[in-house]
Symmetry: C2
Subunit: 282 residues, 2 copies
Amino acid sequence: MTGAPQLVSAACCFGGTQARYRHSSAVLGCEMVFSLFLPPRAADQSVPAAYWLSGLTCTDENFVQKAGAQRVAAELGIALVVPDTSPRGPGVADDPEGAYDFGLGAGFYLDASREPFARHYRMGDYVAAELPALIEAHFPIDGRRAVFGHSMGGHGALVTALRHPGRYRSVSAFAPITNPMACPWGEKAFTGYLGEDRALWRPWDACALIESAPERLPLLVDQGTADAFLETQLRPRALEAACRAAGHPLTLRLRQGYDHSYFFIASFIEDHLRFHARALAE
Amino acid sequence: MTGAPQLVSAACCFGGTQARYRHSSAVLGCEMVFSLFLPPRAADQSVPAAYWLSGLTCTDENFVQKAGAQRVAAELGIALVVPDTSPRGPGVADDPEGAYDFGLGAGFYLDASREPFARHYRMGDYVAAELPALIEAHFPIDGRRAVFGHSMGGHGALVTALRHPGRYRSVSAFAPITNPMACPWGEKAFTGYLGEDRALWRPWDACALIESAPERLPLLVDQGTADAFLETQLRPRALEAACRAAGHPLTLRLRQGYDHSYFFIASFIEDHLRFHARALAE
């Protein structure tokens, strides 16, 4: 059973409210924290929500503090829902060596099938189902959803939208891991969470999913050309090739000189929010 | 002797560059780090600079990551210079009990006269003279300066402008400590840095300085009404009274429901930058 959200903190922000909540997640089997920005418009009507999925090592707070998204979300009347990047707490398994790219803070937004991770690491189900149900039951937020994210969270956004046709109006990503089956971060995570059988990896890989995607969502990707992870981990050209082969629309923008940091995200977050606002208004 | 700035890191940001530099400060007797945002316009001409002074416990990074200032500074063609909040490093004295409101991270932007602090804690001189000289010698930044800050840094901005007529075109503050001689944070800091003689405190207190200010700078202050430090530490009404008594112009805006956080700063930073841009353009 999912516990009702308990307020952790709240602050006025651009005429709306930036808050954090704690709740007991049935899916993840632990307490979880999420951040929620409600725009001014939510004071007297329900609004759509954009779900932001953060990258490796992040929590719900990085995006909230660094992206500068609230200004535009306030103007557009969009709520921002920001989950944590993995289950946490007593009994939640971590990387045996405590590495940053697996375990705590690195849930990869998938549902693990291998022990000891299968018990708690069910971020796919949490992000796509449990959290939206909780949000829409307790806050002035309607069923119109967009999903976006950064790096590991860009992978999460793509996969979440592709796995759940009909649940999202639009999807976008900053520097996503586009093809985790074929990059070191993804191979490590998928082996740990899903086992050695690569056939079981395909339902969590955007490039594989796009081959048979039943839905054609607006899909926007920004990628910095000075991103240190571009060639080995992110591989936007793999996504471009998969979209071309499948006839799936994709707007891929290579941003000259930008790196993998939140300065890159902040520079283009307004574009992404306006992209989602158009789809959410339809 | 002041060492030339050494690049620590740099990232593209809103078409400009957000960087950090390290240098050897002769005034402070230690290595210092500062952050510098250069707007796109600085690629082919000199630009004015706004100096941001942060609050207790901050470093140069808090404002850079959380305020969302670069977007507007890029548009307006203003550089942002963000020093650290105190000297740091081996041999720099700290609060004997390691408290957050004195010592490291809490230099109060004054020139200490008491040992062991007098050796390094000369933030007044550093911020008003050494750092601008360094900046204007090494970067495409001209002599037009604005100064602004938050909390302890709001105190710093007010005092820095008031002590140096002719050096700044405008000054503004978010939730400043307006009257440090008469609040617990200020009394502790001034006693530690300057000693018990309160006459020696007056040159570092905005309310005292405003009495005889030879210059009438544009002065803007935003203050959240839900700020937990409002009554005991910040006391904007004291500044209002001092300005009224001295016939000094002041725009004081009480922002309903806002607290002391960077969400408050982010919500109104655009206003402050546009305020400074008007003065810098004159």
